[in-house]
């Protein structure tokens, strides 16, 4: 019986104007998305490859100059691997730097050079840019905004419309339980929305996967599957909302008006208003503080150093030790400062993100981002990869120095470190990776929250429909 009702709904919808409009709209958006991705992505991948080989050359070049040079220069810039699924969620990638600077130098004197530290440059894409700003048309936009609107347009009259026409009374006069009618209608609406969406997704993926410039591997397809599942869940949320309001309201036009106002508040305004509130409530100190503190720390250290440095005779081991301690201590302090600033910033963003999570559209966009391998979570993963690599690199330097028995084992000064040539192939190189299992951990709560939303709305729709008088 459920299927019977669903089929009736489906055939009703397929002939309607809204079905045609939704199909055209979704197809157009998905096609644009695919074309834009094909235009931009190969270039991005190419640039990344060039940068990775640049990083490797940098290491090889410095390794051949000896251990001190390698330890002083550092591994150079470390780059973030662009995700192949960026078309699914742009994730504000342009607002996050695509590199970490593992070779940030600050000063040099006649005899000493500062050791490298790990710094995190910030991306300022729009400071030079005076263009009007818009949301990128990615899957996140298409699903979050357009598909949810379409879902409402398909369900606003599912019950109130039948009541207006009087056919609801007719249906219920048969010996069908109400929940069967509701489920049948839900399925019918679900399939009618899915058809244009699936069509558009297929066209999008067809265009992207058949092109030679972009390659999607098995894992990417798995991620796409999960993203599709999230989209389906999200659509169900709005279908349930539509049915709930439709069951409670007498006239279908009123039902649509209510739904639209709810939609505008929930989808269009809540994320940005919440974000503004969250962004304002957390404010970091001015940037002056940072450079001032950095300068002060360095100043204190160096005045202490100069007072001790000249007491020791030139060339003595004691003097080399003081030199080395100065350089390494300075690098340590400064890196600590950079790490602290980064952590403060991350904590702020995390607080802000927690607030915006009330809106379902933000949840979906977060989910899409984490499965597409873009966005803030991905950036944190990249930073973690960088930090792991940096530890590895430093351990390698220490181990290599330890292995040389002639070395004085004093870091920071050329004469204090191993003079033997370094095998460039043995030096660890940085390769950024995307890890699905890690993504899933961060996404699990959001997925649960979304499911909860759907269940609450569905049961609400059921209760409303059971109690409704025809």
């Amino acid at each position: 019986m459920i299927w019977h009702i669903a089929k009736r709904e489906l055939s009703n919808n397929l002939n309607s104007l809204r079905f045609a409009l939704a199909t055209v709209l979704l197809l157009g958006l998905m096609l644009t998305n695919a074309i834009v991705h094909l235009r931009e992505h190969p270039e991005r991948v190419q640039r990344y490859r060039e940068r990775v080989s640049g990083h490797q050359n940098h290491i090889t070049a410095h390794a051949s100059n000896g251990l001190y040079d390698l330890a002083q220069e550092g591994p150079g810039n470390l780059y973030k691997k662009p995700s192949d699924l960026r078309f699914c969620a742009e994730g504000g990638e342009t607002f996050m730097s695509d590199r970490a600077q593992a070779g940030y130098h600050r000063w040099s004197t006649d005899t000493l050079k500062s050791f490298w530290i790990l710094a995190y440059p910030s991306a300022t894409p729009n400071r030079d840019n005076v263009r009007p700003e818009v949301t990128k048309v990615d899957w996140g936009f298409i699903i979050g905004y357009v598909l949810s609107l379409v879902a409402l347009l398909f369900t606003f009259d599912s019950i109130s419309g039948e009541r207006e026409r009087g056919t609801l009374r007719l249906t219920l006069s048969n010996a069908i339980p109400r929940h069967t009618v509701l489920i049948g209608k839900f399925l019918g609406a679900f399939i009618s929305v899915s058809i244009p969406f699936i069509l558009a997704v297929l066209v999008n993926l067809l265009v992207i996967s058949t092109s030679s410039g972009v390659h999607l591997d098995a894992e990417a397809w798995g991620r796409l599957g999960i993203i599709f599942f999230v989209a389906v869940l999200y659509t169900c949320l709005f279908l349930a909302l539509g049915m709930l309001v439709s069951a409670r309201v007498q006239r279908s036009a009123v039902s649509l008006v209510i739904l639209l106002l709810v939609w505008v508040v929930l989808v269009v305004f809540m994320p940005s208003t919440l974000a503004s509130i969250a962004g304002r409530s957390t404010s970091s100190g001015p940037t002056y503080d940072f450079s001032e503190r950095s300068w002060k720390l360095h100043e204190e250290l160096s005045s202490d150093y100069y007072s001790r440095h000249y007491k020791e005779p030139e060339g003595s081991t004691k003097r080399i030790e003081i030199d080395g301690a100065y350089v390494t201590k300075d690098a340590e302090q400064q890196e600590q400062l950079h790490a602290e600033r980064l952590n403060r910033r991350i904590a702020e963003v995390n607080r802000a993100r927690a607030i915006t999570r009330i809106s379902p559209v933000t949840i979906v966009q977060n989910l899409l981002e984490s499965f597409a391998g873009t966005g803030f979570e991905r950036h944190l993963q990249f930073l973690e990869n960088v930090q792991t690599y940096v530890r590895e690199f430093r351990t390698f330097i220490i181990d290599t120095d330890d292995a040389d028995s002639e070395s004085l084992h004093i870091f920071g000064v050329r004469t204090g470190m191993s003079q033997k040539p370094v095998n460039p192939d043995a030096v660890p190189k940085f390769e950024d990776t995307l890890n699905l299992s890690q993504d899933f951990d961060t996404a699990a709560t959001e997925l649960l929250l979304l499911t909860l939303f759907v269940l609450v709305l569905l049961s609400g729709a059921y209760l409303a429909f059971v109690r409704v008088e025809v």
Binding site: L261, S272, S276, R280
Partner: protein, 508 residues
């Protein structure tokens, strides 16, 4: 008769659920956002005040004129009307150095104050954005059943039995719906203005109220356009639910899809050739200056041997304490310059004979620098125009195909947060730089001892021309907003005519 019709429509509209919902939602969104925006503005203002004060103090700590580049910094105050339309006010830099070695532009400015670059991840919102989304939606919700609804209920037939022209009926419907839509618009604006006036940090001048008036007028045109679009759909369709659904698709396309789609699809990239060739030209001019400088030093029999590879570095004057470099090399914004200088606390007697020669050298070098900058500016200005301004204008042009783009552009112009409004500030800074350079010429500071030495009198910063910035006249704002407003008005008139034509011909 017209009055009766208007009264009937008005009563019809005022008593509906949608009217209550419209007022409630607009009020909620506008007030909530005003509070947030106000707080944000206050923060930016505090940051501006602190930064201005700090720059003022730091400049006064400098004893010689040649160091002024590091600390003669001017700041762009936040625009109080950015609460209505944020525009570029927060996006572009707000701190710029004034120096004779380059002409300051919006692309050379940096951002001061509290900053966490990650917070850019969150989209920002302003009152015009709320109106853009909500008022257009409300206008459509008010319009969808204007004709289709009466036709469904059969009341249209009844009204038309009276000897009234059909145009009058349309007009009455239009006027009453617009009156209803004005209520949420005006009440919410009034509340936000009250919030603004209560706040102590923000001070609105009479001109600002005129500008807000301009924004209200533009909003009215925008709302009316959407109402007419809805009415047009209503005149064309038989059933109200079809009309409403069509309205929603049109709204989705115009407000949500088109602006984002068009700018994603159309890739506006300036030719990189312009940038590269202009950059090289500018660099060559500076290299030429460098050659001239070296030539000058070679010809000088005393200073020449004192300079290291044609670079001044203090000319080994006894008493010179440190030398410094001020340079920039940013190919993306075509900024290139290079200046070196030194600081001497107390010049010893044995070097005294050289001082006048050094003064002479700086007189020559600074003059040549200013001339070189003038020449590079002739290259840089048009190139920046091609690289940044033209693509931005093209993008705005494309957005104008949707009423949303017109509305945004016009309100930005009123608020003064559009590109031209921002450029106003930077032209003021450019004029100020000119005034400072002229002052240095007039007072012979470029060739003075205080340029590098602090022993015979130090730099007198208070005598320097003071920087002040006034936002442009309301007249200029109006002039910039007018084309877009006229376009909106024309679209209104055309749509109304179309509706009248459709309605007159339609059968009831």
């Amino acid at each position: 008769m017209l009055m009766t019709l208007i009264r009937r429509e008005l009563l019809d509209n005022l008593m509906t659920f949608r009217f209550a919902a419209a007022v409630f939602i607009t009020l909620l969104l506008v007030v909530a956002n005003t509070v947030v925006l106000l707080k944000d503005y206050e923060q930016r203002l505090t940051a501006y005040n602190t930064a201005t004060q700090e720059s003022h103090q730091e400049l006064r700590e400098q004893k010689v004129y040649s160091r002024y580049a590091m600390d003669l910094i001017v700041h762009r105050p936040p625009n109080p009307l950015s609460i209505f339309n944020l525009g570029l006010d927060k996006q572009v830099g707000n701190e710029i150095a004034v120096y004779h070695a380059f002409v300051p532009t919006v692309w050379d400015a940096v951002k001061h104050g509290a900053n966490n670059p990650f917070l850019n991840l969150f989209t920002s919102i302003d009152i015009v954005l709320v109106f853009q989304g909500v008022l257009s939606l409300l206008a459509l919700i008010f319009a969808y059943d204007a004709l289709a609804g009466e036709r469904e209920r059969g009341t249209l037939r009844l009204v038309l039995t009276h000897p009234i022209q059909r145009g009058y009926i349309l007009f009455a419907k239009y006027i009453s719906a617009m009156l209803c839509l004005l209520v949420p618009l005006l009440i919410s604006l009034l509340l936000s203005i009250i919030l603004l006036t209560i706040s102590t940090t923000i001070s609105l001048s009479a001109d600002d109220f005129l500008r807000i008036g301009g924004i209200v007028l533009t909003s009215l045109l925008y709302v009316s356009l959407f109402y007419l679009i809805g009415m047009c759909i209503s005149a064309l369709t038989r059933r109200t639910s079809t009309a409403l659904m069509l309205c929603m698709f049109v709204w989705g396309v115009l407000v949500l899809v088109y602006p984002n789609l068009i700018l994603t699809a159309v890739d506006i990239v300036p030719q990189p050739n312009t940038q590269i060739s202009a950059y090289h030209q500018i660099k060559q001019m500076w290299e030429e200056l460098n050659r001239e400088k070296k030539q000058f030093l070679r010809n000088d029999t005393v200073l020449g041997p004192l300079s290291r590879d044609g670079e001044s570095w203090g000319f080994r004057l006894k008493g010179s304490e440190y030398s410094f470099l001020r340079d920039a090399d940013k190919p993306s914004t075509l900024l290139y310059f290079y200046q070196s200088g030194f600081y001497a606390g107390k010049i010893k007697a044995e070097s005294e004979p050289h001082v006048s020669l050094v003064q002479n050298y700086y007189g020559f070098y600074n003059r040549e620098t200013v001339n070189t900058v003038e020449r590079t500016w002739l290259v840089r200005k048009p190139a920046l125009e091609v690289i940044y301004v033209q693509p931005a204008n093209l993008g705005r042009m494309l957005l104008r195909f949707s009423p949303v783009g017109l509305y945004d552009a016009a309100t930005e112009a009123w608020a003064g947060t559009d590109l031209e409004g921002i450029q106003d500030f930077f032209s003021t800074v450019q004029r100020y730089r000119r005034a400072v350079v002229d002052y240095f010429y007039d007072e012979k500071i470029f060739e003075s001892r205080q340029w590098f030495a602090a022993d015979e009198g130090t730099a007198d910063w208070d005598a320097l021309p003071q920087f002040s910035f006034q936002r442009s006249d309301t007249g200029i704002n109006a002039k910039r907003a007018l084309p877009d407003m006229l376009l909106l008005l024309t679209m209104n008139v055309i749509l109304f005519t179309v509706i009248v034509l459709i309605f007159i011909k339609s059968e009831v």
